[in-house]
């Protein structure tokens, strides 16, 4: 129906609610941008003015020039893209098996996966770190990417399985009659159809990995040359005094790739979530 809001009061109230929530949600972004154009002394005197006295682009120039920006950036691209690839591959295959095959213990397996989403993040860090030491993977690229993939799998399997469950079995049966093996069903039917989930999982995984900070700092502890961007730009954060303008400029720059990915992929993203319980 999409009500027309005939009534001014109702309209105004909705707007006020939305503006309030918007402002709260968007405050960090705005502050980040505003600060990135300020000078250090301006930040100290008026942290909460949103409009800088003058727009200083040289914070950005300094960040790119001084902070090994290119190198950190490429590291981040490498970690993020490999993680996304790994998560997509393993999760889609596991979800296909969960959704369309029948085998003893299928439900138990699935709940184990979902259960593994519930483990507290700090709780997962420490065992991981110890495992990586034992495997000699600390301070290596692989040592960062493997736990990254691990961290994204459960939620991705959950999304993929939900989607595959909705693909009517007749489609798979038709493919079988047309001469497809199970593997071809996966590759030629399930994966092309799962575009919205591929996009959604890519966006969420890329976002989480691109912005990840803590695990990278721990695992790359003695190899700063392998730092991802988010760790790299933290050199502007001191123990006592933080160089906000440069830090924010770095963060602003770091946000751009993820926004680009979002803008590229969002039209493929899933549009809705269903419970199958609405019809009635």
């Amino acid at each position: 129906m999409r009500y027309k809001i005939e009534n001014f009061i109702r309209g105004a109230m909705s707007h006020i609610l939305l503006w309030m929530v918007s402002i709260v949600c968007l405050f960090p972004l705005v502050w980040m941008l505003s600060t990135s154009f300020k000078r250090m002394d301006e930040v100290n005197t008026s942290v909460l003015t949103f409009w800088p006295k003058e727009f200083r682009f040289d914070n950005y120039v300094t960040v790119i020039r001084e902070a090994h920006f290119g190198q950190y950036f490429m590291n981040s691209v490498f970690y993020t893209s490999l993680t996304v690839l790994g998560v997509l591959t393993f999760a889609s295959m596991a979800a296909f098996v969960f959704s369309k095959f029948k085998f003893p213990g299928d439900r138990l397996f699935f709940y184990l996966f979902i259960g593994s989403m519930m483990i507290p993040i700090p709780g997962a860090f420490i065992p991981l770190f110890i495992l990586l030491i034992k495997l000699n993977l600390v301070n290596t690229r692989l040592g960062l990417i493997l736990p990254y993939i691990n961290s994204g799998l459960a939620f991705a399997i959950y999304l993929f399985k939900g989607f595959f469950d909705e693909i009517p079995n007749e489609l798979l049966e038709a493919a079988e009659l047309d001469g497809c093996t199970k593997w071809k069903v996966y590759r030629m039917i399930m994966i092309p159809l799962a575009k919205p989930i591929l996009a959604t999982v890519s966006i969420f995984t890329a976002m989480a990995i691109w912005n990840e900070y803590l695990l990278a700092l721990v695992i790359m502890i003695s190899r700063p040359v392998l730092f991802p961007l988010q760790v790299g730009i933290m050199k502007f954060q001191g123990v006592h005094i933080t160089d906000y303008p440069h830090l924010m400029a770095g963060m602003g720059l770091a946000t751009i790739p993820i926004l680009v990915i979002y803008l590229l992929l969002q039209r493929f993203m899933i549009k809705g979530v269903t419970a199958g319980a609405i019809k009635g």
Partner: protein, 370 residues
């Protein structure tokens, strides 16, 4: 040449539920065979066993004389059209139709030729580059058919292919599928729950009920000589009217006594009953709506063969009028000429065409007249 023969085929699910019980039938080469029945009667399971999508619990399935129980679906040389079309949403119409040939590694030129031929037959040439979701329901159905015919399979299977279409389109697609069968001259097995589709399309019809075959015959034979009360009630619309009654013989004449009325049976009915239903007294009388008349138009009717009734509902259909009448505990449907003028609540004396009655054993439902 592609006969399909089922010999004592059953399907029992792990839980013990028996979906198909001991079905035997012989589908001849080039025949259009319809499996019809209410939902849950086992017709779809039977079709899926023929396709190879369900395993066969016991019995033999022969295609072209070879036992194929253990041949995988993709190697049975069978094509199937699904109820929900089951088109690949991410492929163009061309790719949908070409997919099976592509999987079987046909040369590109051959694929193109076959798809274009099929598209020509089905009027899909203009939409070959489009995706399924941009097509209407009828077009999608045609693509599903096209996907089947490009393979030139031995047998076509149809699983309620028209049930997602609206009434007008269904009538049109019915005709198109019949024409397609005439044109391709291939064995077709068609599952539906709609008796109109069964009657109008099938060379022969197998009526299924409760996991078993009730009767296999040509359409008009099913209509005129149903082998059981179930078939009699299932085939034909509006459905046949039934009255429960007892057979009595008085003064060498035979009567059927029911709630509130008594009918004198014709001598030929009596003879037939003597052959098919000796000693049966509890019967169901069946009479089709077109064999029920208003007494006003049948002056010669015997008084005692009259059913007094009250009009409950008048449904003008254009060329004719359906009446629902109440006669004691029974509701009767009568099919009358359009120029009858009746109003709801009016009384009407009904006369049955006694030459066209059916009699069934009350308990088993078995037909008593041959």
């Amino acid at each position: 040449m592609a006969e399909v023969i089922l010999k004592n085929v059953s399907k029992i699910y792990p839980g013990g539920y028996c979906a198909v019980q001991d079905i035997s039938m012989e589908i001849r080469d080039k025949e259009f065979m319809i499996l019809v029945g209410p939902s849950g009667c086992g017709k779809s399971t039977t079709l899926r066993m023929i396709a190879g999508l369900e395993s066969i619990s016991s019995g033999d399935l022969l295609i072209d004389g070879k036992r194929v129980n253990d041949v995988p679906a993709m190697d049975r040389d069978i094509a199937m059209v699904f109820q929900n079309y089951a088109l690949y949403p991410h492929m163009t119409i061309f790719d949908n139709m070409a997919f099976s040939l592509h999987m079987r590694k046909y040369p590109k030129a051959e694929i193109k030729k076959r798809v274009e031929e099929a598209a020509e037959i089905l009027g899909l040439t203009a939409v070959l580059d489009r995706k399924p979701k941009s097509l209407s329901g009828g077009q999608r159905q045609r693509v599903a058919v096209g996907r089947a015919i490009v393979r030139k399979p031995k047998v076509f299977l149809f699983d309620e292919p028209l049930s997602n279409l609206d009434a007008a389109l269904r009538v049109q697609m019915r005709a198109e599928l019949s024409n397609l069968h005439h044109r391709l001259q291939t064995t077709m097995i068609y599952v539906t729950h709609d008796q109109v589709e069964a009657m109008t399309m099938g060379d022969r019809i197998a009526v299924l009920h409760k996991a078993r075959i009730q009767q296999i015959d040509r359409p008009m034979a099913l209509y005129d000589r149903p082998a059981s009360q179930f078939v009699a009630g299932f085939i034909g619309s509006p459905a046949m009217n039934f009255f429960r009654g007892r057979i009595k013989e008085v003064n060498n004449e035979m009567f059927l006594e029911s709630d509130g009325f008594s009918l004198k049976l014709l001598p030929q009915t009596r003879d037939s009953l003597a052959r098919g239903g000796q000693n049966v007294t509890d019967v169901m009388l069946g009479i089709r709506p077109e064999d029920v008349y208003d007494k006003l138009f049948i002056p010669a009717a015997e008084d005692r063969n009259v059913l007094p009734a009250t009009v409950d509902l008048v449904e003008p259909m254009g060329a004719e009028i359906f009446l629902r009448l109440r006669c004691g505990a029974y509701s009767i449907t009568a099919r009358m000429r359009k120029d009858v003028t009746v109003t709801v609540g009016q009384d009407m004396d009904l006369v049955l065409d006694m030459k066209r009655i059916h009699l069934f054993e009350a308990d088993s439902g078995r037909a008593l007249l041959s």
